[in-house]
Amino acid sequence: MIDSLVSGLAWLVTGAQARWVGAGPSAAQRIYFANHSSHLDFVVIWSCLPREIRARTRPVAGRDYWERGWLRRKLSRDVFRAVLIDRGGAGQGADHAARTEAARRTVEATAAALGSFESLILFPEGTRGDGSNVAPFKSGLYHLCALRPDVELVPVWLDNLFRILPKGEILPAPLLGSVTFGPPLRFDPTEPRDAFLARARAALLELKPA
């Protein structure tokens, strides 16, 4: 019930329709990775997925944001079943080894959340941009794929959402957004980390409308 309400609301505010390029929706385990410019981002991707796939797809989100306040906690836990992770903050001030250790735990927790039939939505830029460009990807995506090379990696381009709800605004301007799902990428264990991250980012930018 609530999940239909939330996805209906997301459609009303953004008018976003899913476009599948190169591959259709699939119940196979996937990691959807997208450009990030608005709080609407994951809700819109989530809403664009067919209902039965949506029920098995969990967004990866920052614990600091989603654990503040009753409504966010309730939504992230019961509706989106978000995988909450500690961003940067946990390791700040600590030494390099402790930071690496925290990052490793985060990646392992995220990989564990995939289980044997769940999919994930994540934003490898790590934080929201202003919509004008896509920041370099954080390495978490690479380590996650190295742990779970069997999972399909699907780029998702979100268009116009930063105009609908930009950083720092709470009221939406109901313009039309769009969501483009691209063809899945293969993980290649012999590929160096930076080359992989660059390839994933290029696959995402490929979907950007001219």
Binding site: D130, N160, R163, L171, P172, A173, P174
Partner: protein, 314 residues
């Protein structure tokens, strides 16, 4: 004021449904006869348009059946979707966010609220005066001066075309015409029928006889033959519907003529904007037609003039 479903209204809608049945039959026959690839594509597009017409007519009839409030809500939603398509195509900046929010959620509902409570004075100036003053103020407060006038002008223009102009269609329901009270729904139907049939007839005449392009740079599908044939036949149609209106046949013909000319102007202007932005349609919500704004572009221009002509002369 109550919009009873009187006999004339029933006849008008019956006529529309009859026309749609004919169009569906013709489309079915043409689909069987089409041989060339291009011919099949044209027929498939035509049939998609006809199917969409069924849906649009059903929605319109449903809103008319619920009385003036239904019409106000329907046109309010049309304005909302049209403005959404318009602003989406317009390059605005981060600093315009609040002004856009107020356009959608304050000025638009307020304009239709004024139609519903029949406050003509404020209805006529809300957007040309108060939105005109508010939008640049809000954008200036955001502090971004780059292309300032251009950004402000585009938001104001969107409000004028998509909200102010369109709201003149349901505003027909607030006019007091001696001897016609409670029947204004038929005025709205007259306007919508003539303006939409004028589009359809221009398309049909253009497809049948079109040779000379009228404005090849703006709208490659508009031809002199389509224009003349469409305007004349839609004027004839308007005259033939005089019995459902407070007009005499010659008055109905002149009003229909004015509606079709304005409708043509609307289609042309909105095409010019699409060309400038490098797109073919404003959206894709109505199969075969494009976006809401593609369907109501002619209505945007025709509604205010028709409203004023009726208000001053009847």
């Amino acid at each position: 004021m109550k919009l009873a479903f009187d006999r004339q209204l029933g006849l008008l809608f019956g006529g529309v449904v009859g026309l749609l049945i004919l169009a569906s039959l013709a489309g079915w026959l043409l689909a069987r006869r089409a041989r060339t690839e291009a011919g099949r594509a044209t027929v498939a597009n035509m049939n998609a348009r006809v199917r969409s017409w069924w849906v649009m007519v059903a929605i319109f009839a449903g809103s008319m059946a619920t009385g003036p409030i239904g019409a106000v809500i329907l046109f309010g939603l049309l304005s909302f979707f049209a403005l959404r398509e318009f602003i989406t195509l317009t390059p605005t900046r981060r600093a315009d966010h609040r002004a856009i929010f107020y356009s959608f959620f304050v000025f638009l509902p307020l304009q239709y609220y004024l139609v519903a409570i029949r406050w003509y004075g404020l209805f006529a100036i809300l957007i040309p005066v108060y939105a005109f003053l508010y939008v640049p103020t809000r954008c200036a407060l955001s502090g971004d001066t780059e292309r300032f006038l251009e950004r402000v002008a585009k938001i104001q223009w969107g409000l004028m075309v998509c909200v102010y102009c369109v709201s003149h269609a349901p505003a027909l329901l607030m006019l007091e015409i001696p001897g016609f009270s409670g029947q204004n729904g038929k005025l709205l139907l007259f306007l919508v029928l003539v303006v939409q049939m004028s589009d359809v007839l221009q398309y049909v005449w253009g497809k049948l006889l079109g040779r000379h392009k009228i404005a090849p740079n703006v709208s490659p599908n508009k031809t002199v033959e389509g224009f003349v044939g469409g305007v004349l036949s839609a004027t004839g149609l308007g005259a033939a519907l005089w019995w459902a209106t407070p007009f005499k046949p010659w008055q109905a013909a002149l009003l229909a003529f004015a509606i079709t000319l304005m409708g043509f102007a609307g289609g042309l202007v909105m095409s010019a904007i699409k060309r400038d932005r490098g797109v073919k349609d404003y959206g894709a919500v109505i199969a075969g037609h494009g976006g809401i704004l593609d369907r109501i572009d002619s209505l945007c221009f025709a509604a205010p003039l028709f409203f004023h002509l009726v208000r001053y002369f009847f």
